[in-house]
């Protein structure tokens, strides 16, 4: 299968025990799972792109570690070194949504242009104008991230996308998923053979799905969609978006990548480095050496 891009999932932190009910709607009192925090790196066609950038350890690392059990955090420079990349090499970053654990590390990528849905920005700004009793809505959003985004915009490194956009890089499409996990979530679809009717597609779903069970339910022989446990929009919209995700990979749910899915390391070639960084390899472009063998 021809690959125009190499793709890696890089784990930069994890929570050892996260309640399953937060990940799969309705899974109450069913225990906990290990929750990895990851970002996606896509390399090829003269670019290095990422999907999301992780959280800001400098400001929140101690709090997340002490109160919420997040551990094994590694800085982007250390994580990306495992695949031979430096943060300065990254040219494009696609932010799936504006939560702190997906867009907190903006400052670590000084040469990248960032893409986010305009709706994600405008609806958060609207939410901030609501009365204090609505403050639940702002959970997960760090005003400092918004402040850093202003600097990006002034530096002409912010693209506010309005809906879907094809070929933001050759073979890479952005798809809006309004009123789902957040108001302006989006996912990234990679056509790795660059064909408009590609049979070699991957989807990077952000937080639209957390686990394989969101895509196929509990019974492989009788699949169903089960939404995630956290929707700012609606569970219905999440389900309809899940249908789009699955259709976008011709039904091969293994190619819908949920970056909080701990079992990715079992589904694809993977390596745990001595420093604790885990790299999972989804695809290799011609001439690119494996980073996991």
């Amino acid at each position: 299968m021809k690959n125009s891009y190499s793709v890696w999932i890089c784990e930069f932190a994890n929570v050892p025990t996260y309640p399953l009910s937060g990940l799969i709607y309705g899974a109450h009192n069913q225990g906990t799972v290990r929750l990895p925090y990851c970002y996606v790196v896509i390399k090829g066609q003269g670019h290095i792109a990422m999907v999301d950038v992780g959280y800001n350890h400098k400001e929140y690392g101690a709090t997340l570690a002490n109160l919420y059990g997040v551990r094994d955090w590694h800085p982007p420079r250390q994580v990306l070194a495992e695949i031979g990349i430096a943060p300065e090499d990254v040219t494009r970053i696609f932010l799936t949504h504006a939560h702190f654990d997906h867009m907190g590390n903006i400052e670590d990528f000084p040469r990248a242009t960032f893409y986010i849905q305009e709706r994600e920005l405008s609806k958060w700004v609207w939410a901030m104008s609501l009365e204090r009793r609505f403050r639940w809505i702002m959970g997960g959003v760090d005003p400092a991230d918004i402040m850093r985004t202003v600097a990006l915009a002034r530096d002409h490194r912010l693209v506010a996308v309005n809906g879907d956009r094809e070929d933001v890089l050759p073979g890479i499409d952005l798809h809006a998923a309004p009123d789902t996990h957040t108001w302006g979530s989006m996912y990234v679809r990679l056509r790795n053979d660059l064909s408009p009717n590609s049979k070699n597609t991957w989807i990077f779903a952000g937080d639209l799905v957390y686990m394989q069970e969101n895509l196929r339910g509990y019974l492989k022989e009788d699949p169903e969609y089960i939404p995630i446990g956290f929707a700012m929009g609606s569970q219905f919209n999440l389900l309809m978006t899940t249908e789009d995700l699955v259709k976008g990979v011709d039904g091969d749910v293994n190619r819908v990548i949920a970056i909080h899915e701990d079992r990715l390391k079992d589904m694809f070639p993977s390596r745990l480095a001595a420093n604790g960084v885990r790299v999972t390899e989804l695809a290799l472009a011609d001439g690119e050496p494996s980073r996991v063998t």
Partner: protein, 127 residues
């Protein structure tokens, strides 16, 4: 450990701290929309001004124990910078960044003033 007077102060000023954070975030959001070419909803500025006035009035009427003086000064400095950022012709980014730095300093000066509420986030859950 905090004494009773400080505890009362913390409980009184927490909402004003949250208000100032909200105004800073709202102004930053409007600025992002402006800079990225989107049409910001200017009526939100009215809401920001209203929240700001409420916070400043509250801060000025709060009784400040001596051990919370530094904290209170950070909040007042944050408010002063936000006032500059709320002026129609001002370059908002610099006073906004300064106000946020003051809020962060206040957050570090006393317990009970978190910059980010993780409890309501989706990927961090309280142990």
């Amino acid at each position: 450990m905090t004494d009773d007077q400080t505890t009362v102060y913390v409980l009184q000023t927490q909402p004003y701290f949250e208000d100032l954070k909200q105004v800073a975030a709202q102004l930053a959001g409007l600025l992002v929309l402006e800079e990225s070419g989107a049409a910001p909803d200017h009526p939100m500025l009215l809401s920001a001004r209203s929240v700001y006035r409420n916070a400043v009035d509250g801060l000025r009427s709060t009784r400040v124990p001596s051990c919370a003086r530094v904290h209170h000064n950070h909040l007042l400095a944050a408010a002063q910078n936000l006032s500059a950022a709320l002026q129609p012709t001002a370059d908002k980014l610099i006073p906004l960044e300064q106000s946020y730095a003051e809020l962060r300093a206040a957050s570090n000066a006393l317990p009970g003033f978190p910059m980010l509420n993780f409890e309501k986030g989706c990927c961090a859950v309280h142990r």
